[in-house]
């Protein structure tokens, strides 16, 4: 394999890897505050992209993306308030089934609004054939956008959780809900907030990836599976783990194309998921004790 080709694969891997990582972080935020896996996470990504594409008819691109993120955050809050909040001491399994229902419902709503056609946002800079040469490989500027925005999101989320008072409260809820109540924190609001946050970062991911991967009403399911694989791989609840695992999975998938046919790409990621579940069920970076403390 030539160097140029390797770099080309690597960049493709990093692009998809960043997107998987962002979806996985969305899973983690909700998992940390509620202990559930929100299978509608992929739908947040879809809504983000689709809404931005529609809004683009009325306003410039940056504003359309911003509004799409805000609207998706509202959708996230609405979903939590309508379907999760009023449940009294719900079992984890019940909540997970509810999120699967929400995912199906969202897809149906989307197909009614937007139809089955495949759409996409325009390239943020340049067009399909613009490219930047890097060591002989040719990289689309949109790839840079995806990588940079994803990196920025991870850093901002890290700062938010580490240095702000609301971020600390969310971590406190994740760590010990009873103790958080003792500190005067309304844990239910924190759960709503985690849905809002997940929806927001999902929507932003949906916008930046749209020019490369296109947006369609049923794109969420595939993304949710990849994001879930990454979340498990990195250790549920660990954001740093999600980034490393996301990039790892993206790069492995990209390079796998040079060895096996493209159709087997998904099989490889699922095989990795199974392998991890057999060998290290707590994930690459999760600790066994932390996993044991969770509700199931």
């Amino acid at each position: 394999m030539t160097l140029e080709l390797s770099i080309q694969y690597l960049m493709a891997g990093i692009t998809y890897g960043s997107i998987y990582a962002i979806v996985a972080i969305g899973f983690n935020i909700i998992y940390n505050t509620t202990g559930i896996i929100n299978f509608a996470q992929g739908e947040f990504v879809m809504f983000g992209g689709m809404i931005a594409i529609t809004l683009l008819n009325f306003m410039p691109l940056p504003l359309a993306i911003f509004l799409a993120v805000v609207i998706t955050m509202f959708i996230g809050a609405l979903i939590e308030i309508c379907f999760i909040r009023w449940l009294k001491s719900p079992s984890v399994l019940r909540m997970i089934i509810i999120t699967i229902g929400i995912s199906i419902l969202s897809r149906e709503v989307a197909v009614h609004i937007w139809g089955e056609s495949i759409r996409s946002l325009p390239y943020f800079v340049g067009n399909e054939i613009t490219s930047i040469p890097i060591l002989g490989a040719r990289i689309s500027p949109q790839v840079m956008w995806v990588v940079l925005v994803s990196a920025l999101m991870v850093v901002c989320l890290g700062l938010f959780f580490k240095t702000t008072s609301v971020g600390r409260e969310m971590r406190a809820c994740a760590s010990n809900r009873k103790a958080a109540t003792l500190c005067g924190i309304n844990t239910r609001n924190m759960v709503t907030l985690s849905f809002v946050l997940s929806a927001g970062i999902g929507a932003l991911a949906g916008c930046i990836m749209s020019p490369i991967t296109y947006s369609q009403y049923d794109m969420g399911t595939g993304l949710a599976i990849k994001g879930f694989t990454v979340a498990i791989l990195g250790g549920l609840g660990s954001s740093g783990g999600a980034v490393v695992a996301g990039l790892l999975l993206g790069v492995i998938e990209a390079f796998s194309v040079s060895v096996v046919p493209l159709a087997f790409q998904d099989a490889i990621s699922i095989a990795i998921l199974l392998g991890i579940l057999f060998i290290r069920p707590q994930g690459l970076f999760g600790s066994k004790e932390a996993a044991g403390l969770k509700e199931y």
Binding site: T164, R168, R171, N176, K178, L182, G184, A290
Partner: protein, 252 residues
């Protein structure tokens, strides 16, 4: 006016009268202890006061305000902090961060402001950090401020938990068996810290099994037995009370 007033508090679990017609008052600035044999209803009483579950009947008045029907997080933000028998730390966070979470009630910064790190939140963030550090210093564990709270020794975790409760700036502190699981030396330490807290003007109501601690630090003691209040007096009088001696030592 009493800081906390319990009026004919009842709690039934099915046919069991866990707490039966208990009334007493907690005056500001005192340390009051609730003692009694296992199953006397002490923790049930605490849970009703802090809003964990509602009383079957009766009233809890805090600073003249009815607390029945309020949720635990609301009770906490009214200025009543509590600790549990088994320590509840935020693992994965440092001792200092644990205390900083407790300052949340005092924090004004909204979600959006702190999301975007507005300038006015920086100062507040610094204030919260300084104040939390002060509390850790007060409880003499400032050297462990940056250690993961879950990896501290048991006695030190107790102190962090006390600091976190104090971060709410409570007027009343409820302590559920603060000496549980501590050795004699650590128990004496906790007793000293509790009196230190009282001297700051914070009223303390505690449930405790350790008699040496209770007799040492309490200003007044309430004795519960099978859900009923059988005595309420100063420690020296409680030690002489024939009824109390009977339930603790048995009849001759």
């Amino acid at each position: 006016m009493a800081l906390l007033e319990l009026k004919q508090l009842h709690k039934r679990f099915g046919g069991l009268h866990a707490v039966n017609d208990v009334s007493f008052q907690v005056e500001p600035g005192q340390i009051k202890a609730v003692i009694g044999p296992n199953g006397a209803g002490k923790t049930t009483l605490f849970n009703m006061i802090s809003g964990t579950f509602p009383a079957t009947s009766g009233n809890v008045l805090f600073q003249g305000r009815e607390l029945q029907g309020k949720k635990p997080f609301q009770v906490a933000s009214l200025g009543m902090a509590r600790t549990y028998q088994n320590i509840k730390m935020f693992s994965g966070m440092t001792a200092l961060e644990n205390v900083m979470v407790g300052r949340h009630v005092q924090s004004q910064a909204g979600f959006l402001a702190s999301m975007f790190r507005m300038p006015w939140t920086w100062k507040e963030e610094r204030d919260i950090r300084d104040k939390s550090m002060e509390l850790l210093t007060l409880l003499e564990i400032e050297e462990h401020a940056h250690t993961d709270a879950a990896s501290l020794a048991f006695g030190q975790q107790r102190a962090v938990e006390l600091a976190r409760a104090l971060a709410l700036e409570p007027s009343l502190l409820l302590l559920d068996e603060p000496a549980a699981g501590l050795n004699i030396y650590e128990t004496a330490e906790v007793g000293r810290l509790i009196t230190k807290i009282r001297d700051l003007g914070i009223t303390v109501l505690l449930v405790e099994h350790d008699m040496s601690l209770v007799m040492d630090i309490s200003d007044e003691i309430v004795v519960l037995c099978f859900g009923e209040k059988i005595a309420e007096d100063v420690p020296t009088a409680i030690q002489q009370d024939p009824e109390v001696i009977k339930i603790y030592l048995g009849e001759e």
